[in-house]
Symmetry: none
DNA sequence: TATGAATGAGGCTTCATTCAT
DNA sequence: GATGAATGAAGCCTCATTCAT
């Protein structure tokens, strides 16, 4: 009985009874998470007092700690979630493409699109990519979603569609180029110009990659 | 007053007394700056108490505040210095090159070399590139050293040596690619392999840029 | 309201519904009290959050406050109960003895036996004997069970069986000696050695008391 | 140089320069210690916020933590000091006595006198004798001052001046009797009556101990 | 110039208690 | 009766900064 009571504590409630209950139960939790996302990206981890998060989220200070035992646990949860969401968005039907190069380009396109549409999450990911506030396990979990990309690069090299250079380097530069591209494209508010920038950027990157 | 303190930096003190005094006086200031560089990159701005900086630098807490009115002024000074040093290193005889593309490649090579040889400074620059701890004026001053690069890109396009795409985009992606390249190359400790990585990376970038 | 809750304790609920209900209703109350006893002795009053008590007792946080309006009321109830139980145990057929000295010795023996057999309660009594967490009225109520001892000491002096010294002093020293004796005897796990210790201790005390 | 600076930090200052400096430097430290002593005995450890200690001591909150890294370190320091002071007071020329019994009685007398004259310290010692707020090492250090008493008891038994019972028990009961005696004697404000109580109490205890 | 004791606002977290279900 | 999410005051501790020496 104790165990049961304990487990219930921190789970998003398994929808016992009506959906309304479950939804309402985690409403505060979600408010806290989304507020934290905004504030962390705007002001950094140490620059954002938990008191500010709870105030902006419209809950009491204690409520934040009811859902997240520590500030670290809050940012960790956020990190895992966003990494996972990004990975999922990135993979949207990339497997319909034939070559590894085409697959990568599709993935890149997806990533950029998602980054532009979710600027706060994008900034969050960049900001905390190597941060020590995020636990090692969360970093590893986040990383795991992206490991297949390295394989894809290797496949491309084997296929001959991708230039034969150090796959780690390629991956590293591709990733950082995407960051730069997203930053620049996001600054451009006109949709068609932005679309053009994205394509130019992808050309730039994949020109460099072609065998 | 801030300005005064700062100016002292590069003027080895007019005369007044002996040179020894001046040298000795600046010694503590330099110890503080170099300690702060290490600690800020390792632990971030808020993660580094001024008391830790002064302890590690081997001076009293009051001494730090004698040289730098606030913690912000300390990081600002560091930022200006490092940006300026990086810019200078980057430009090492780039003008001997003929085309804009070649100049850029030379600059890129210099930048990467400096980044690998000064990892703390490199990390510091990346970490605080968009940070709000650094004053706007310091950011602008830092930026100013690099504006000529945009012009160089434009020149290259005009010349026909560089692909005709949005110069801002090109600049952005080039810069971020360099970051990725430095990160990867720094991880490689063998000098000749590292050299090869750097060249492969530059090829990657400049293949994408070529007209 | 406090009083009402308290009275419920010893009155197994008049009628109203079945006995089962009453029994079940009190079950949680008892679980809370016994859990609190253990935790308070192990960790002190402030060291024991009510949330821990309710968790270990296997009830919800709200349930504790249904039975005890405040944390103070909980410890107060515990205190009254234990004091009363101790007093009762102490008095087990002491009146069969003839002299005041013999009565006191019997009482002492009972007290020590009870203390050894109920270590948590014994510790609780010592810990909160002068504590401000327990209300003054509870302290007075607790004290009242033991006042007759002072009279017994006085009787003994009058009878000539007890040495003529300040009764308050005698009482005080007797009580504290018992504490010391219980502590030492409890540490001895072998029953017969323990019995010997108890008797040696009683001899020590009553040698000093004899006229 | 760093090391030097570090060591200086928490030491009571080795009287470098004039005595005035040293005295003044630790004035706040002493105020904090004596205030904490009073408050801890009156309200317990958890019942005494550090903010109250600093307020009553007339210093800022930060000052307390400048001298004592944690609340635990504060109580630990207090504990060590008081235990050591008590031990010293207790031993005042006890060696002029001949038999172990006489030595113990002299020690007892000293202890009681000190306890009456330093009621706060006496209460503190009793209250935190087995407390978990005080570190194990401090407990051990405190205990070490009193170990010779057990030997003295054993000597007395060997000599034949002390009754042959479990030395641990004797020690335990003696110690707790002293507590009771001090408590009772302290309540008596008239000096000559108090003196009489003390002697009666000692008679009580040492009557019980005599062979 | 250099020191380091002193300050106090502010940060993270705990916990007794309430209340709608 | 029972639940557990929600509250917010209060606790411990940190740290940028000041100032007398």
């Amino acid at each position: 009985m104790e165990k049961t009571a304990e487990k219930r504590l921190k789970q998003p409630k398994p929808a016992k009874g009506s959906d309304d209950e479950a939804k309402k139960a985690s409403e505060n939790r979600e408010k806290i998470l989304s507020t934290a996302l905004t504030l962390f990206t705007e002001r950094g981890f140490f620059g954002t007092p938990t008191s500010l998060i709870s105030k902006e989220a419209g809950v009491a200070t204690g409520t934040l700690f009811f859902y997240f035992a520590t500030k670290e646990e809050l940012i960790d949860t956020l990190y895992r979630r966003i990494k996972s969401e990004a990975a999922q968005a990135m993979c949207r039907n990339f497997n319909t493409e034939k070559t590894a190069l085409a697959k990568l380009r599709r993935i890149g396109y997806n990533a950029i699109e998602w980054g532009i549409e979710n600027p706060a999450k994008q900034k969050f990911m960049e900001q905390f990519a190597h941060s020590s506030f995020v636990s090692t396990t969360a970093h590893e979990e986040g990383m795991s979603h992206f490991l297949f990309l390295q394989d894809l690069v290797r496949d491309g090299i084997r296929e001959g569609s991708i230039r034969d250079i150090d796959p780690g380097l390629l991956f590293c530069m591709m990733a950082s180029s995407f960051s730069g591209l997203i930053a620049r494209a996001y600054a451009e508010k006109d949709p068609s110009l932005r679309e053009r920038l994205v394509n130019e950027g992808l050309d730039f990157i994949f020109n460099g990659m072609k065998a």
